[in-house]
């Protein structure tokens, strides 16, 4: 039982990281842009959030936790939105190929984060922003003390709950608002949206930048909460970025599915550590490596199932990956 609780307590924060990535990418993809730069953007967001919190903490006597949250969040949002802006300018205005641009952005984002990260590390293997971490990871005061329920449901930083709220808001946005309807039309059939008087370029730009900003929050959450406010040169964020892309497919582009999908991915990801001990068996470490592929395999199965069923509502946005040029003949 206790290992099940520990498992859940590991899976939910893990899910939260990729949930942000997946929700951001969903917004982007709804506009018809397939941004493979998610890992790079998560790096940008994570690093900007960490660096700003770190400098804030080290430059004032008594850092105020709330202010450190605000600073880190704003910096993460801006940095990752800028990453999205590079992608948007290249693919929307200059009509560069989306796949290739996204991959280049991943290279670039990783480079920027790790390059400047080394300056902060200054020779150490890691550096920390404890105040920000404490602020971001603060559990819900009273509720988190309430036994098992408190532990599994109420013991996470506020971003974990914000993610759920955001998923619901996005669901409402896509289905119940005019901007959401317009956005979906842009991703499905930009020529139609254009003829209806919708500013396709504006929607694509906004969706890409806002989407990127939300992806960046995933990176921020990883560094300042999940990773206990520690920055180290790592390839971990990249793997999380690709997993977020997988989650978008798994949810069939529906934000509400991201809530349980993300936690399911978290459960699957940590399967190797908790399931054997729950079942009372010992598994070789080689097997635990193998089990790590489960989320990806599940995603592939979903991808195949969706393509076989051909249900229109589960397909990617019809114009995903393609540039739009009104005067194309």
């Amino acid at each position: 039982m206790s290992s099940l609780i520990a498992w859940i307590m590991r899976a939910i924060p893990f899910g939260t990281i990729i949930m942000y990535g997946a929700m951001g990418e969903t917004i982007t993809e709804k506009s018809g842009n397939l941004n493979l730069g998610v890992p790079g953007i998560m790096y940008l967001g994570g690093f900007a959030g960490f660096a700003s919190a770190y400098y804030y903490e080290n430059s004032v006597e008594n850092p105020i936790p709330l202010l450190s949250i605000v600073i880190a969040l704003v910096c993460a949002l801006v940095a990752s939105a800028l990453g999205g802006l590079i992608y948007a300018f290249l693919t929307i205005t200059l009509r560069a190929n989306q796949n290739v641009t996204g991959l280049a952005l991943t290279t670039f984002g990783m480079g920027v984060a790790n390059f400047f990260g080394v300056f902060i590390l200054d020779g150490a293997t890691y550096s920390a922003a404890p105040v920000a971490n404490k602020a971001f990871a603060a559990k819900i005061p009273v509720l988190s003390q309430m036994g098992v329920l408190g532990q599994t449901v109420f013991s996470y930083g506020f971003l974990a709950y914000a993610a759920i709220v955001l998923a619901i808001v996005l669901h409402w946005f896509f289905n119940r608002t005019r901007a959401g309807l317009n956005l979906r039309a842009v991703g499905e059939n930009p020529a139609t949206a254009d003829a209806a008087g919708i500013n396709v370029t504006k929607y694509k730009y906004l969706a890409t930048c806002v989407g990127a900003a939300i992806c960046g929050v995933g990176g921020l959450y990883y560094v300042l909460d999940y990773n206990q406010g520690i920055w180290a040169t790592t390839g971990q964020i990249e793997a999380l970025g690709w997993l977020a892309l997988a989650l978008v497919i798994f949810t069939t582009w529906k934000p509400l599915n991201a809530i349980w999908g993300a936690y399911l991915f978290g459960i699957l990801y940590w399967l190797y550590q908790f399931l054997p001990s729950m079942l009372g068996i010992t598994v070789s470490s080689a097997m635990t490596d193998l089990v790590q592929m489960v989320p990806y395999v599940v995603t592939i199965l979903v991808l195949i199932a969706v393509s076989m069923r051909r249900k229109k509502e589960d397909q990617p946005p019809a114009h995903l990956g393609l540039a739009y040029f009104r005067e194309e003949r």
């Binding site: 039309a185 059939n189 254009d194 003829a195 008087g197 229109k312």
Partner: protein, 516 residues
Amino acid sequence: MPNTQYAIRLEHITKTFGEVVANHDVTLEVRRGEILSLLGENGSGKTTLMNMIAGIYYPDEGEIYVGNKAVDIRSPRDALRLGIGMIHQHFKLVDVFTALENIALCMEPGEKFDLKKVRSRARAICEKYGFALDLDQKVYEMSVSQKQTLEIVKVLFRGADILILDEPTAVLTPQETEKLFAVMRNMKADGKAVVIITHKLHEVLTISDRVAILRRGEYVGDVATKDANEAMLTEMMVGKKVELDIGRPLPVNPVRRLSVHHLSVTGPEGGRVLDDVSFDAYGGEILGIAGISGNGQKELLEAIAGLQRTDGGAQIQFFAPGAEDKPTSLIGKSPKDIRDAGIHLSFVPEDRLGMGLVGSMGMTDNMMLKSYGSGHSPIVDRKTPRELAEEIREELGVVTPGLNTPVSQLSGGNVQKVLVGRELAASPIVLMTAYAVRGLDINTSYTIYHLLNEQKKKGVAVIYVGEDLDVLLELCDRILVLCGGKANGILDARTTTKEEVGLRMTDLQHKKEVRA
């Protein structure tokens, strides 16, 4: 002199796409409370011109006035703001949206997002004009005519003062067309300006008040419909009196080459796009196939060519020269199987660059599209195709900078010459052509007619799918009429009349002698 009664006025509009001049120095006006027909052949620049009003294209030169004010229409958004609505030939609908959601996309900017209100307004429009439209149906579940209805409701919902309809009747039944015309008259009575793009003369005469004619991108002139007749309009449209005079040699010793029995094809949406069609094609004759586009012509030819899965019970038999008593069945054969069986079947498809040719390749590489696989060498032989390309270029007068220039950069006529040239070079026994002269100028069209007649004289069985009834009546020996995927009679082209063919295209009553 500009006058307030003009809803919209175009002055000296020019638009080019690369080397292609789509519109040149066009001046045209549309009045309030009139229905204007914009008439012209395929490729005469009607749609391009209207797209500039609708904000899809931006003119290279010229002015557009709405009311009496010079305007710049930079986007469809600008056009909508000016009260211009256009129903495009290719539907502008989001497939995964419901009808209601598609209509909601057209709400005024700044209007409150209230689907209930949209629904009640859309309902009201449907009731007023008598449209049957399920607002909760997804577009991908709709038939073409339902989609067309939705497009009309969309424009009415937005409340345009200037309405442009691009070939709206191409996919409609006569009853639906009548309903659409009633709507158009209604709008005219409301003082709106309505433009209908078409190349169907009888529709022009039925619906419009005035006809403006475009020819090869240039404005020819206009005429009040009451003063117009078909001959006159045709002359304005094509430039000279249509003494087609194609010439029609008598079939010599016709031998059955192709026999089609009970051919049915199920479309992607489940309905039958071809329904129990039977006919024979003979060597030394041209069999015309008439019908409103989208009535099964494409599927018929593709089924014979091995590109379309046929329903059970269908028979397609090929009779090779010298083996007339031993037919080969084409059912279940792929294009490659057909070729490997030594059957000389040539096919000039409707979609020249999307099916018949590879746009990014030059003439040489396009010559070997069907023959590249011959021989056992893993290396392609480019020598023979190059010689063939050179030959076709000279014989048919293909204008191209070079044999390796991508064919997509050639003009429409030259593209068709390349395609037809290749298909004829394969010395066909059966030759199928779909809309072989669509969008071509008169001279090139005559070149094509001439080539088909030559093939006929050689004893080839030619199947000619066409849209221009005058041509069908003068070129073909027999005409098979398709209507709703069914064979609606085979007529002797020498004795039948245009009216008879036209009637059979739209009306299935003539169920009598389905086989001639």
